[in-house]
């Protein structure tokens, strides 16, 4: 399996290198879909320039990266292209290894269940064969590396690629069962952009199950484990934040990075829901809706963790999707990360209801973004509503995609316990409904 992966990496690097050297690179770096005020490369360079002038990069409102990013690019600013390609490579390999390991566990669990005769007789066609699971890790890597969204994000040198790499390493270390590394990477991811804090729940569930600690709030062993993991997570977060403080000697970065993410002062258009909503918001409702929209991102963690407590990896996928849909400054790089997980759930395809429609909408919207942007900003023949309408549609499509996968996952689980061909009491064929 190493050879195809290497080949894939070579192809991915070649594509990126070619784009980096073409005239398209500057064009892509300006696209609002690809870069947000949080992760634009132009702003990183500006931050470094301010630092060179002896001005704190956080004294203005242009730079919103964390101090660690400054520190990183202080050394590798001349090799930025390589850094971003490397980050993409790391993400792909980490996901590849994680999914490979995860598939092994899935297969093992399936084997135990089969041996214990826990599946109904007519569910045999739902059982996954090693043959079809063999190429899934490679597909995951391919979905990430050759996804146009990822390529654009990398060519634009959006620091989103680095965040994705950290999250991918977190997924890998979680699935490999290393609690400490998982906590550290999660802390770094949180430090980079707050929202990954919601991934603490799936990490906790996964690691607890892996160490055979029953997920039960009445058990003291579970509480002990929560404390243990929370201590590691908060401890590493504390260390990183303090390190940032000592790097710059001031706490200015806290309001400038996290305040900026949470209070959404920059209304530059992007593919998310925030910009136009808060541009058009009545001033006295602004704070209220800010709370509503931000809580929306974090809020789904609790019910999803309860519902999916036996399936933490799917929970990770769901959380990543929710974050990338509802976060304040989303870019296509965030979407690329959760889209990379889709091959892992390829066995759900028979239960998906509207995947064709959703993928068509996603493709059409991706094509329409630059068109309507041009009409609004350059041609002047359209106005902001056109672009806004496309962001709405794009987000509806993403929501439908994610909820469709959620539905399919739950339905498969139901069939695995109750049988595939359900019959009514009178013997006629039954239909399943949600009640």
């Amino acid at each position: 399996m190493a050879a195809p992966l290497t080949l894939l990496l070579i192809v991915a690097v070649t594509v990126r290198a070619a784009l980096f050297n073409s005239s398209l690179a500057d064009l892509i770096a300006e696209r609002v879909e690809v870069v947000s005020p949080l992760n634009a490369w132009k702003r990183v360079v500006e931050g470094l320039a301010l630092l060179d002038l002896g001005i704190s990069p956080y004294s203005g409102d242009v730079f919103h990266e964390t101090p660690l990013i400054i520190y990183l690019f202080h050394f590798v600013v001349d090799y930025a292209e390589i850094t971003f390609m490397l980050a993409d490579g790391i993400t792909a390999v980490a996901l590849y290894m994680a999914v490979k390991d995860y598939n092994k566990q899935v297969f093992r669990r399936q084997k135990y269940a089969l041996e214990a005769d826990r599946y109904p007789m007519d569910c045999l066609e739902l059982i996954r064969s090693p043959k079809e699971m063999y190429y899934i890790p490679l597909k995951v890597a391919m979905f990430y590396l050759l996804n146009p969204f990822t390529i654009l994000s990398c060519v634009a040198k959006s620091t989103c690629g680095l965040n994705n790499a950290v999250i991918a390493l977190f997924v890998l270390s979680t699935i490999k069962g290393s609690a400490l590394l998982s906590a550290i990477f999660l802390a770094v991811a949180t430090y980079q952009s707050i929202y990954p804090v919601t991934l603490f729940a799936p990490a906790l569930l996964y690691l607890a199950q892996r160490q055979f600690i029953p997920v039960n709030l009445r058990r003291s062993s579970f509480w002990l484990f929560i404390l243990q993991l929370a201590f590691m997570y908060l401890g590493s977060l504390f260390v990183i934040v303090c390190l940032s403080f000592f790097l710059l000697g001031s706490w200015d970065f806290l309001p400038s990075v996290y305040g900026f993410i949470l209070s959404v002062p920059d209304l530059t258009p992007n593919i998310g829901l925030f910009w136009y909503f808060f541009a058009e918001m009545f001033e006295h409702f602004r704070l209220f809706f800010l709370f509503v929209f931000q809580i929306n991102v974090f809020f789904y963690t609790i019910p999803l963790s309860i519902k999916l407590k036996d399936h933490p990896v799917f929970l990770i996928f769901m959380q990543l999707a929710v974050i990338s849909i509802f976060k304040s400054y989303p870019t296509v790089g965030d979407i690329a990360l959760y889209l990379a997980f889709l091959p892992v759930w390829s066995h759900l395809h028979r239960f998906l209801r509207n995947i064709f429609l959703v993928s068509c909408v996603l493709l059409a919207c991706s094509a329409l973004f630059p068109v309507l942007w041009h009409l609004w900003i350059y041609a002047g023949s359209a106005n902001s509503n056109f672009y806004y309408a496309i962001t709405l549609l794009f987000n509806v499509a993403q929501i439908l995609l994610v909820s469709d996968y959620f539905y399919a996952y739950l339905r498969r689980e139901h069939h695995l316990t109750h049988g595939l061909y359900l019959k009514r009491a009178d013997g006629s064929e039954a239909t399943l409904v949600l009640k």
Partner: protein, 656 residues
Amino acid sequence: MAAHRCNFPALVFLCTLSVFIVVGSQETTPGSDADASAVNNPQTVLASDPQTVTETAGEQTPEEEPPVEVEEEERRWEATKAEEATPGDAPSRDQAMSEDPPRPPQPTDDFQEELVIRPLHSGDIYTSFQFRTVWDMDFMGGHKVSHYRLFPKSLGQVISKFSVRELHISFTQGYWRTMQWGQPFLSSPPGAELWVWFQDTVTDVDGTWKELTNVLSGIFCASLNFIDSTNTVQPSASFKPLGTGNVTDHRFLRYATLPREIVCTENLTPWKKLLPCGSKAGLAVLMKSEKLFHSSFHSQAVHIRPVCQDWQCKTTSWELRQTLNVVFDLHTSGQGKREWSLFKMFSRTLTEACPLASSSKIYIDITDNPQWDQFELSPATALLSQAVVLGDRRTYSVYDLTQQGTFGSMRSLNALLRWKSNDRDMLRPLLHGERYVAGYGLQTGEIHTLMYNHHPYRAFPVLLLDTVPWYLRMYIHTLTVTSKGKDNKPSYLHYQPSKDRVRPHLLEMLVQLPPNSVTEVTVQFERALLKWTEYTPDPNHGFYVGSSVISALVPSVVAMDTNITQESPLFSSFFPCKEESSYFMRIYTEPLLVNLPTPDFSMPYNVICLTCTVVAVGYGSFYNLLTRTFQVEEPSQGLAKRIANVIRKMRGVPLL
């Protein structure tokens, strides 16, 4: 005229009285005084008249009760044969150069007015009024100043209440075209400009500034209350105090411009009211707003600063300068005939000086007309004056309004200038600035500032100050400075990045301009999308960005006059000159008009509803999947059966 005739008997009485006074003062004044003042006025050209000494001595009138008009009446016959000699030294009360100046016991004040008319090479006429009030008063002494004479009380109260050390405010309509018109005596940017140095005793500078702008807004009927932290900066080098004192800590400096401000009659009226004579007498009679605003350029300003009382500078007094600069385009309105007169420009003529003024003069620039072959001036005046202004030695014809002879037999002065020939050439200004926005679309852009050094062989440094509002996000790493195709690294760079909705970008740099070159400064910016309430009522008109300020010490062709005395003309004595080889100049570039992307202003409800719908779609579908479980669908009863069952229930019959 009628008024003059009516109080003629009274004048006769006063005449006799003043004769005594004049004689008395001539006796008390040392004879060397007149000579000394003449010596100290090297630029004054004597009109080759033997009676000069007696004439100036005769003018040493005490200031306390000035029967100026009376004197004029009396000397009307004199003026025809005795040309006035030293413009400005006439009733110089502040006798700095004399051996034992007679110090008045109480704080005294002094008012001077002058009008400079300069025919421009483009055919336009540049007229510049200056009014100066000097008061030997200490506003900061802690005691309450309640007795005001010439100094306007409203401004005096502002100075003492807000501990102002220097205040400069200007309102300008139109843009000064340097390449066609040359340099103005005092330049100002289009719109309103305000800069203030506070005393170093002020603790809350921002709060005081906020209050001050609101008060000034009321005094001048202008929108200065729109000055807030988003358009206020603290330049580190460009705006040094022009008065005495050497505190240069720029924490006490605030600078703001409102490029959008429209200047009109309602700003002129309160400005005129600050003059001691109002618009009732003196040069201010000419300020008829319908004429002043029917012009290519209009700029009015108020400058308050502490100045030295004498050349030793032991004590300071407060100087208030009010300037009004207007450029008339008489060429196009006069059917191609190139001539102008006071009446044509202002639709008024002059009949008297302001009685409170110690000097009242009209200067007409005749430098380009040495042999009177270019144009002719009537009524002719033999009085000439020379002044070095903006690195150029200029010759002026002078009308002294304090002399009754100036008004002639008609008792009114209507200076008239008629061109004879039509050739025009102009000394190119040595320093010139331009600015524009490059790029297309509403996403990004680039500000280009061009600075021209027209000096053939001297390089000189300039300070460039740029204030860019926060909604144009400037990227300092894209800053390039090139001259003659080469990179020209600024030797000093002060940059303050903006904060959204709090403060603007401030960019200040010191650039050396090579001789005979264009230096181009470019910087890229990104246009922000604002909240819908933050747009101006006409958002698609665009947003104004204030002018860049270019301050420079320009090498002078002629030796500058470093010794500004009370007697030199007002227009040449505003910026203190430290050395002879160069002079200070401040020029402003054009303001910019930049378009920003706009949201649809009719949509707030729709956007709130639609976005919330999408969020609700997300919430709803998740909620659906999270709270419900899969169940086998029960065969649903048909509608008819359900209705039948309801009826059966009512009848008490067993259900179907």
